[in-house]
Symmetry: C2
Subunit: 461 residues, 2 copies
């Protein structure tokens, strides 16, 4: 036995993921995992028709097999697990409606579920094994994101980097990897980890590529490990590992923080607005200011949002968004839609982001770094706005937990409605499809084996 590998943070985390059993997971955590799964299906369906997603799907069809057991949700076709993970990973991160874990600034669903579903379908895994695998993926990915820290997130898209480890953990759990092989899978996943924020400046298509590749690369790592392919034993904390290369404030203690006691999956937030999560606290605070003071759009002269540094890093470069997707990274646009429509959902972004009254409002919104908000972040995402009305009033509003956070979560009815809305938006599934699917989705933990999610279609290949 190699003592190092038994005692390193990477090894402890890998052993936890390999050994996690369904019966170890508290019932409320299982329930939340099912909620997150159903919520994710909505995001995966929402990617249908989005040009970057369809481009990745077309590439997958040209390079991959035309049949298999793993389902591509945007069109109900099937392929090998690799390509299903790639396409579903891409599709679930484009509507900006997938879940987020605050403390790690990591979007687990978009990388964990695509890999886990693809492998579970290929291997006809049980619902219980699927939930255990998904939970392993969340617990690993979130801790890796926390470990890599804020310095990492300034340059790297944590969902792309930590996401490869999360997908490896979920896939590895479904493949029944030993702790040692799970550690190998971590090594191969971490050495493939990538994703840079530079694309934001150009409104380029990289974001869904990051999630698709993280899901697929993590899956590759786990399959290779199953077959004996070895990886670095301390890819996370080693001297030439991920933190050494891509972080200046990494904290290895975060990797093993209360494993089996603290369930980070249950800390994960649902997204309510269809925009970058960094806009949500301010959006909720603006909504509160408008409701409490009965303000309409025309009453608002300007809005100062009091934010954390991460919001400025990610949203700051987006001054004049030229696409719907880029608009979701504009604080001003998001607040303009809130002001105009009372909400910032998929439809509002599509129809409203470029409207003159919204762009004019956008240019009257500014972000200012706030000490309290910045210190609380990323554990808490406090929303604070200062509204100056056209008649000269100064109105302050704050929200301590944005809508969708664990203390202000979505009900199953709200999730159901959100998923139906996303499917209808993209046209990936109609009302009948959703009526047929949703009851099964809500019982995924009780499935004897994970089969196709979409209803069988007479015209499907």
């Amino acid at each position: 036995m190699d003592k190092t590998s038994q005692t390193s943070p990477s090894a402890e985390l890998a052993a936890f993921a390999a050994n996690l059993r369904f019966k170890d997971i508290p019932t409320p955590v299982v329930g939340r995992a099912v909620d997150l799964f159903v919520d994710w299906v909505g995001s995966a369906l929402a990617g249908k028709g989005a040009r970057p997603v369809e481009t990745i799907a077309a590439f997958s069809k040209s390079m991959g097999p035309s049949e298999g057991l793993s389902e591509i949700l945007i069109d109900g076709s099937f392929s090998s697990p690799f390509f299903a993970a790639l396409v579903n990973g891409a599709s679930s991160h484009i509507a900006e409606q997938d879940d987020v874990h605050n403390g790690s600034v990591f979007h687990p669903a978009a990388v964990v579920f695509p890999a886990a579903l693809a492998v579970a379908q290929a291997n006809r895994a049980s619902g219980q094994d699927f939930i255990a695998a998904v939970t392993a993926g969340y617990e690993v990915g979130i801790r890796v994101g926390e470990f890599l820290g804020r310095s990492h997130y300034k340059i790297f898209h944590t969902t792309g980097t930590a996401g490869a480890l999360a997908a490896a953990a979920a896939t590895g759990r479904l493949l029944g990897l030993s702790p040692a092989s799970m550690l190998d899978a971590f090594g191969s996943a971490g050495t493939q980890a990538a994703g840079l924020w530079e694309f934001l400046r150009d409104a380029a298509d990289s974001k869904p590529l990051h999630t698709g590749k993280a899901a697929a690369n993590g899956l590759v790592a786990a399959y290779l490990a199953k077959d004996g392919f070895t990886g670095a034993k301390q890819i996370l904390e080693g001297r030439q590992g991920m933190a050494a290369g891509m972080s200046s404030d990494a904290d290895p203690a975060r990797l093993t923080d209360r494993l089996g006691v603290r369930w980070t999956l249950a800390e994960t937030s649902f997204k309510f607005h269809a925009s970058c999560r960094h806009t949500h606290p301010a959006a909720d605070a603006l909504l509160k200011a408008m409701r409490d003071n009965d303000l309409g759009m025309a009453d608002i002269g300007s809005v100062t949002t009091l934010v954390h540094q991460g919001a400025i890093d990610v949203l700051g470069p987006v001054v004049s968004p030229s696409t719907v997707h880029q608009a979701k990274f504009s604080m001003g646009t998001t607040l303009g839609l809130i002001a105009a429509y009372g909400r910032a959902g998929m439809d509002e972004f599509e129809k409203g982001y470029a409207r003159p009254e919204v762009t004019a409002f956008r240019d009257r919104v500014r972000m200012v770094l706030d000490d309290e908000v910045n210190t609380a972040y990323p554990a808490c995402w406090i929303g604070k706005v200062l509204v100056e009305t056209t008649d000269g009033r100064r109105i302050e509003a704050r929200v301590d937990e944005p809508k969708g956070d664990p203390g202000n979560t979505l009900t199953r009815d709200e999730i159901d409605g959100k998923v139906r809305g996303l499917a209808a938006f993209s046209g990936a599934a109609d009302v009948n499809d959703m009526d047929a699917m949703l009851p099964r989705l809500w019982q995924i933990d009780r499935a004897n084996s994970i089969g196709p999610l979409m209803p069988a279609r007479p015209d499907a290949g």
Copy 2:
């Protein structure tokens, strides 16, 4: 027109790659490209039977299509370009016999040829287009490696990171990308760029994964760009790009250094010894000391190698190698084989790395940082050794250009012999196969269309 994209170093480099024509390439550079191609085929064949390579090949067969036009050299099977690039990229970097560019510490062949060959075969490209694409790949990848600098190489395997850009350039050139689309391909390649040295500490299998994934990821980037998928316009030098995240001494001027005038492809070195290139200068210097002074292994008491910092960074962690592959990163083992056999080729590593006299010699070799060597590196790889003989003499030897460098290059006969030796070593091709293949390989630039390289086999699927 976006002015930034017209004038940035990334955009200039992308335009060069997109616009490069065969007739723009000087004849000696074309000749060297053919030399490097033939040399690469040897390395690709040498990977047959290596467990990590065969594991990646088996994964590819399970996830990819079972037919296609792109050839997997280790077994003569065919698949889609994605999987052929993945497997050939992995196989060509495991014997440690593939080429290297000194200044960038980058192994171009292992990432450029796998991608270019897969796409050229799929599209039946001409030999001239193949050479133009390969040259674009070398010129881009080497400049990206030089740009990322020494700080990058301390943590990152430059062949994995810069390799994705190199593969994107070669693939993009074969797909006929416009300069703007080539820039998109660079963006998608750079945001997937990965590869950490951490695996060296554990003798893990990551190195061929890095080259396979770099080739495949770059190919993905170019195919997506062809279909309109956009990428960051300054993925290399942008504020949240590769250098920002993964380098502290990046120099954007290197990206466009004398494009079309300086041909970095022709600066690329062939590998003579079957070990990490960082061992070669000292190995050649030790050989010289032994020849000039008629020393045998038993005459040598100890060897002090005077090296650059990069050699210490990469080779330093390898104290007691436990596999053939790890032994190739051991300065002591490499010099032990030189002392024992007069060479450190594939066979010598296999049969000798664990022999008692070699391990005993290994432990009498040390590396010392040398100012002259370190300052000259990476442009020049000077070899200096100080040998203490068992009878008390102190012998110094130096080599200014290790065997295989442009000023001390391999002849075509030497390349021919090396390739035959590599194929025989792995059993990927027998003498008859090589007799049939080699004349065609040496004329690749004159092919009307690039077809399979291996002779047709009656039993091939």
